[in-house]
Amino acid sequence: MILEVDNLQIHYSTRDGTARAVDGASFVVPEGRIVGLVGESGCGKTTAVRAIMGVLAENGRQAGGRVVFKGQAMDEATTRRLRWRDIAYVPQSAMSSLDPVYTVGSQLIEVLTKRGGFSRTAARARSVELFDLVGLNERRLADYPHQFSGGMRQRAAIAIALALEPSLLLADEPVTALDVIVQRQILDVLRSLQQRLKVSMVLVTHDISVVAYLCDEVVVMYAGQVVESGPVREVLARPRHPYTMGLRNAFPDLLSDALELVPIGGSPPDLREPLSGCRFVPRCPFAQPACSLDTAMSGNGAHQSACRRDSEADTLRTAALDPRTWQRSSSFAMS
């Protein structure tokens, strides 16, 4: 395992109390694999990767759990030492993270010389290599960010993150809001990085299709917790947690014969409220009184899920395919 996240707790202090944005999340990233972190917005995905990278917002703090990178438990000093060299990060707003005043090339050279100790000549040569790697023409090194399209800026942000040859790349929604063709081009860049440079990755997304296309493993987050994880094929073909089943149904599929999308009623809970038991109860069509008790992840082998009714997963999955099932959950009318 290149990365192990163990019972991670991240709290934000806000005017209205503490938000438990990540509330006991555990998952692993095997060496050389791409792990997709999925869930609706507000489920704690960005918070989790920012915590791993050691770049939490001012009001955020790690309240518990640990992050182990290449067998070494991370504290503030090690995180600072490894940041950008060994672990790199493409932030959610990468498209706007480039500085408008400097050319893209000079920003890349800055990272290489300041953080990587490259000489200017070596940095220039490396910039050309990096641009080539992400499919940008080296002539565009002299351009300012505003001369780039959204997709090109996203590629540039990836080039900057890769500058110091990290072994782990954390990419937060790297293709959200891009056109499908550009989206595909960037996913193909990420795949070639995995294949050619053996970079391990955590890819944050709310798009199950992106996970299906690129990832080896998937971790499903709901309300700050991991509710299901495992190999992509298994989890998407045979989801065991009702939340994953719901997400899967809600997704448009270009090739399916079903011409109806089924929404999950309601929305994720407010993480400032005290929560216990299964967080999905108000939206789950299969909720039972016992669901108000906490349930740990369980399962045979790599495919794990945290649902009281896990032993009935096959039956629930069949029921979940029927759109009427989802009209039964108590919050249906409120979305």
Binding site: E40, S149, D179, V180, V182, Q183, A212, F251
Partner: protein, 324 residues
């Protein structure tokens, strides 16, 4: 079926700031947002417009609502030329044709309550005040906002994205329109919320007998809403066919690339490699001939010399490509 909206050879150019060189040369560069667009929207139909960012989708939608005027060509609505609409007839058109915005977070004035947002079109249209409360309530019912009166005093920032999009739709529906243009109505919403809004769009279209144009860059979504799809590239329609045909048997090389690029939620579905490279060229300087030729895997000399016209094929597509 008779057409509700007809576009004939519609052109829209936007002037751009000239560089010094262009001033010296006396050049007047323009963004070719739309270049000769011709199609009909049948009464009661739902038509999708898809294509990459910047290809002219929003511009086309705004032209159909007479929010901008074309540089050339003609548009008619219910048989009447839109260029000539003025006075009472223009006001009547404004009641009949409505827009649902790309981003619900920008569509509503943050300082107005939800009630005010939805009643405003009634005020602007000069509807009798006695009818306001009833019509607002029925618009809220249409968009399934449960306990809608609870929302009346709230402000946009106090609502979730999905609720906001329902309010934006209530606002578009409150005048009982006949024609709706929805510009990326769900692209900013979370997956689970999206499904609900799509179902709602379908429902209102059926129950109110609306004619609708949906703008999107996502073919997978469009399939759930529209029987027919127009594919645009750099200001031109390159293919026009029933949506299922576009998805299952794309014919124009650009449509083929677009379909190949759509991700599907099934890891076992093997995906063909993307057949094209590069980016959309600058709309200020579109290539001569076929504007897709610098990315097209089938380009031939003729493609640089001659602009392909949109022509009907035997199997019911309209395609603009010299291969046809």
């Amino acid at each position: 079926m008779a057409a509700l909206v007809e576009l004939r050879d519609v052109v829209k150019h936007f002037p751009v700031t000239r560089s010094l060189g262009e001033i010296v040369r006396g050049a007047h560069p323009a963004v070719h947002a739309l270049d000769g667009v011709t199609f009909d929207v049948g009464d009661g139909d739902a038509v999708a417009i898809v294509g990459e960012s910047g290809c002219g989708k929003t511009t086309l939608g705004r032209l159909m609502l007479k929010l901008v005027e074309p540089t050339g060509g003609a548009i008619t609505f219910a048989g009447a030329p839109m260029a000539g609409l003025a006075g009472e007839r223009l006001r009547d058109f404004r009641r009949q044709a409505q827009l649902v915005f790309q981003n619900p977070f920008d569509a509503l004035n943050p300082r107005f309550t939800i009630y005010r947002a939805v009643v405003e079109p009634l005020i602007n249209a000069g509807i009798d005040k006695a009818e306001h409360a009833d019509r607002v309530a029925s618009a809220f019912r249409r968009v399934h906002l449960a306990d809608f009166d609870r929302y009346f005093d709230r402000y946009p920032h106090q609502l979730s994205g999905g609720q906001l999009q329902r309010v934006v739709m209530a606002r578009a529906l409150v005048l009982g329109p006949r024609f709706l243009v929805a510009d990326e109505p769900v692209s900013m919403l979370d997956v689970s919320v999206r499904a609900g809004i799509l179902a709602l769009l379908r429902e209102v279209r059926e129950t109110m007998g609306l004619t609708a144009v949906y703008i999107s860059h996502d073919l997978a979504l469009v399939r759930y809403l529209c029987e027919r799809t127009l594919v645009m590239y750099l200001g031109r329609v390159v293919e026009d066919a029933p949506t299922e045909e576009i998805v299952r048997r794309p014919r124009h090389p650009y449509t083929q690339a677009l379909v190949a690029a759509v991700p599907v939620p099934d890891p076992d579905q093997s995906r063909q490699p993307l057949p094209i490279k590069g980016n959309v060229p600058d709309a200020r300087e579109p290539p001569s001939g076929c504007s897709f030729r610098d990315r097209c895997p089938h380009a031939m000399p003729r493609c640089a010399a001659e602009t392909p016209l949109l022509r009907a094929t035997a199997d019911g597509h309209r395609i603009a490509c010299h291969l046809e």
